[in-house]
């Protein structure tokens, strides 16, 4: 049993509205360095709120009524709506360069170079080096890559993702998820991935945490949860994933 401190620890977190209606109840989870935890649930399960409270990004009408959150490293977040996460009036290299400048101790010029490199690492075209573009000129998938780049500019130890591919087409989703997986291998950050899609969570994360109506109903190894769950709600979610027949491999 490794006695290494988890990089993120949420202990008995409880969130309520201003008039004491419970939204999240006694939630505890932990993430080790380099690990991925999937936070799965339907609407109203409290998964997004739990994620936001890690960064302290709760709306003003919601209070933390109890519990403790300990993060032993820097956190960064990727949100669901890629276009809404970017400043529409500012071209993307400039936006990213600004984040780099404020997070890494470099000159403005160096920040811009780092920004372009980061965008390339995320698969955006090299032409950006010469001609900056506005968010509206990019597709949803490209915008999400910029948002991920901005998160990575912080050199985070933990990447928090709130349904980052839900608004994207399935082919774009695959590209983004592959990109995140590769970046995680390369940069070694831990990840908390919130989604309502159990298949996505299982593909991306080594451990799963299933939430229902503000509580955790099951938590553990992905294969364990998906293969041998005893909890009825989890079983229902697993059964609700509609199966696809095996696709025959194509001769290239």
């Amino acid at each position: 049993m490794k006695a290494v401190d988890p990089i993120l620890k949420v202990e008995n977190l409880s969130l309520t509205t201003i008039d004491h209606k419970p939204l999240v109840n006694d939630v505890s989870l932990s993430v080790g360095s380099g690990e991925s935890l999937g936070l799965v649930g339907e609407s109203g399960s409290g998964k997004s709120l739990t994620l936001r409270s890690i960064l302290g990004l709760l709306p003003s009408s919601i209070r933390q009524a109890g519990g403790k959150i300990t993060a032993n490293g820097k956190c960064a977040m990727v949100f669901q709506d890629p276009i809404g996460s970017l400043d529409p009036l500012s071209p993307i290299v400039s936006q990213l360069a600004e984040v780099v400048y404020y997070n890494q101790n470099v000159s403005r010029k160096a920040a811009r170079t780092i920004a372009v490199d980061l965008l390339q690492m995320l698969g955006l075209p090299e032409s950006l080096k010469h001609k900056d573009r506005y968010p509206r000129q990019l597709s949803g998938g490209q915008c999400q890559r910029v948002v991920i780049a901005m998160a990575l500019a912080r050199k985070p130890d933990i990447l928090l993702c709130d349904e980052p591919t839900t608004a994207l087409d399935v082919t774009v989703q695959k590209q983004i998820l592959d990109t995140i997986t590769n970046l995680q291998k390369e940069l070694g950050f831990a990840m908390v991935f919130v989604t309502h899609n159990l298949a996505v969570a299982s593909a991306m994360c080594g451990r799963l945490c299933v939430m229902k109506e503000g509580r955790i109903v099951e938590q553990g190894d992905t294969m364990q949860v998906v293969g041998h769950s005893k909890d009825p709600y989890t079983r229902m979610l697993i059964d609700a994933v509609l199966p696809l027949p095996s696709l025959e491999r194509r001769a290239e």
Partner: protein, 249 residues
Amino acid sequence: MEQSLHVENVTVTYGGFTALKQIHLELPVQTTLGLVGESGSGKSTLARVIAGLITPAEGRVMLGSEELGKRRSRQQRKMIQMVFQNPDSSLNPKHTIKQIIGEALLFHKIVDRSQVENRCRELLRMVHLDEHALNRYPHEFSGGQRQRIAIARAISVEPSILIADEPTSALDVSVQKSVLELLSKLKSELKLTMLFISHDLGVINAISDTVAVMRKGELVEVSSKEQFFTRPETDYGYELLSAVPRMPL
């Protein structure tokens, strides 16, 4: 009503943008055609052309030998009904459920005035909703329940074709399955021909007999379900299927 629906050479343009390009499609009677595509593929636009909500710039929609033109007759309108994606805006917020389901019944004189309430109760039963729902308003129901009400409204006029445009996309997974089962059941009970649109291939696999793939306004592939999901004809079809995240077996 054993006439099948044909879409012949339909083109729809908005200003300079081509939403649909020379679409040829047949809806074989009493089968479910699953229409798949990513955003911007034109699948919703095609549905609306068939539904008579959008007039194509070129081409026509035929039901049997009858052309469904720009101005459809009441009889023609009744034959094709639609269930929409967003349960929050599918029902008139100021109408009771009884008004929503019963209005078409009265307007088209499908039943006697005295029989309307009974028929409404029957329709609610068919979609597994309690009859007390009649006097309530849409905001008092959940998303899944509202979709059932929308389905009841659609079948009230006894259509032969039902178009479902992403009817479960806005719903929780736990509710999705029951709505799909309901649609399946109604399709066989009422002998409907169904056009089912979804970006979710798992849903398409569950409900379709035939699959049609659209991309950027064009029809790319039409195959039987079994064929499409194991051996898709086109590269794009293969790309779509490989991209779907699958549960670890």
